[in-house]
Amino acid sequence: MKVKQIFIALALVFFATTMSLQAGGSEQGATVPDAPTQKSVQKPYESKTMSELTASFWQTTGINAIFDLNDGEKTSEPKGVAYEREMNWFESSLGRIMMIIIAFILFYLAIAKNFEPLLLIPIAFGGILANIPLAGIGGEHGMLGIIYNMGIANEFFPLLIFMGVGAMTDFGPLLSNPKTAILGGAAQFGIFGSLVGAVAIGFSLQDASAISIIGGADGPTSIFIANRLAPDMLGAIAVAAYSYMALVPVIQPPIMKLLTTVEERQIVMRKGRKVHRLEKLLFPILVLMLTIMILPESAPLIGAFTFGNFAKESGVVDRLSDTMQNSLINIVTIFLGLAVGSKLAADKFLVVETMGIMIIGLIAFSAGTAMGVIMAKIMNKFSKEPINPLIGAAGVSAVPMSARVVSKVGSDAKPGNILLMHAMGPNVSGVIGSAVAAGVLLSIFK
């Protein structure tokens, strides 16, 4: 067969030439004086008996690592070994198992309940990987650590996600009925109300601000702010933000029903006016200009968001807009989820603060929902056109889940009453509102 012949001939030529020619050259090449040695130094390997070898293998099994409580294993830190500390016995054993169980519960919610699977599956899997003993996957040279340093530590991935979300967002419903934007403002009470709560239970003002952004119901914004104001709590904040976003169908409906009467939930809203294409094209630019004038601190977030939206609405760069909405955002979602999951390592997540963050986050979501609904009730009183108070709940953002939840609760109250488009207005203005609130918090601590 021809291939074999070529192969053999090649090998022979190679062998002959290399051997003869390298003879002189190689000693010259082998030494690089006055330079870092190119050959990595290998530890001398000491001979071991078969049982010594087996015993030393046993030391590297996970079973041993988990059951040996005093093995002095170190934490994994994406910033490097200088930031590592020794784990206590709980973190290196039972804590790991608890976190893996939590990951399984997140899998269950994602797959069986379909709660935000695009986020929960990578996060929970990252959580498992981060809790594997000895492997150091969350460390500087581990896969999760590499990804973390690539895009979380510098806030790059959240901005790319925001860009993609911008390219997927249709501002039509908001432009069609602009006053619903106010509802997206009211729901930001979730942020500032929980801020007060957080300082009340003992967090510092800056930490409390970072935590309260969970009330913005917006993953990228939460990561962005946490990274600036309280990087140590980034993991718990991001996990809380995404978990509650996933739990929106569980958290919001009871609050919505509590604050509204059946009659209010049955209110049918009028169809908004038709929106000119030029309005959609100019809107992202207008929002960006407003941001520049009022609140440059929010400009990275709103800049990325409006860039994505402008690219889509321009209609002339569909190649790029499609890429933002698909391959780019998908790649970043995988990476972001895994890297956020790395903060589910027992030594980082199972700390006292986490419980506080989870509680404050829940309060923030509830307060935002409640204030959105209340503001919608007030607007309904004073508005000529009827406003269904349910759409106020969509103001927390959590695009597009909360708008879907609103629509579902609405059609439960009155079958056929589709509120989805009406809820999208507060929903997308809630994204802008959260970014503005984030900018205010950043500007305070600048």
Binding site: L175, G185, F189, V199, A200, V275, L290, V316, A437, I444
Partner: protein, 78 residues
């Protein structure tokens, strides 16, 4: 001291909610102004955005055309 820090948080709330509402309120005004101006100067007729997206998307268009054709075909059959 603890009362004090909560007081600070309440001030943050005042400032924050104030800025959020001001921002969104100006945004609402600007949207309305823009709608008014565009309706006045570009009434009805489709704006000058070229449909070059079609070039990039001929795949989609073709699939859409095929689907339309098949739909029609099914209708005609039944």
């Amino acid at each position: 001291m603890e009362v004090n820090i909560i007081g600070e948080a309440l001030k943050f709330m005042l400032l924050g909610m104030g800025v959020v509402f001001i921002f969104l309120y100006i945004m609402v005004l600007v949207i309305k102004a823009q709608a008014y101006i565009i309706e006045k100067y570009f009434p009805d007729k489709v704006p000058a955005i070229p449909t070059s997206s079609i070039k990039d998307n001929d795949e989609k268009t073709r699939v859409a055309a095929v689907i339309a054709a098949v739909t029609e075909f099914r209708k005609n059959k039944s």
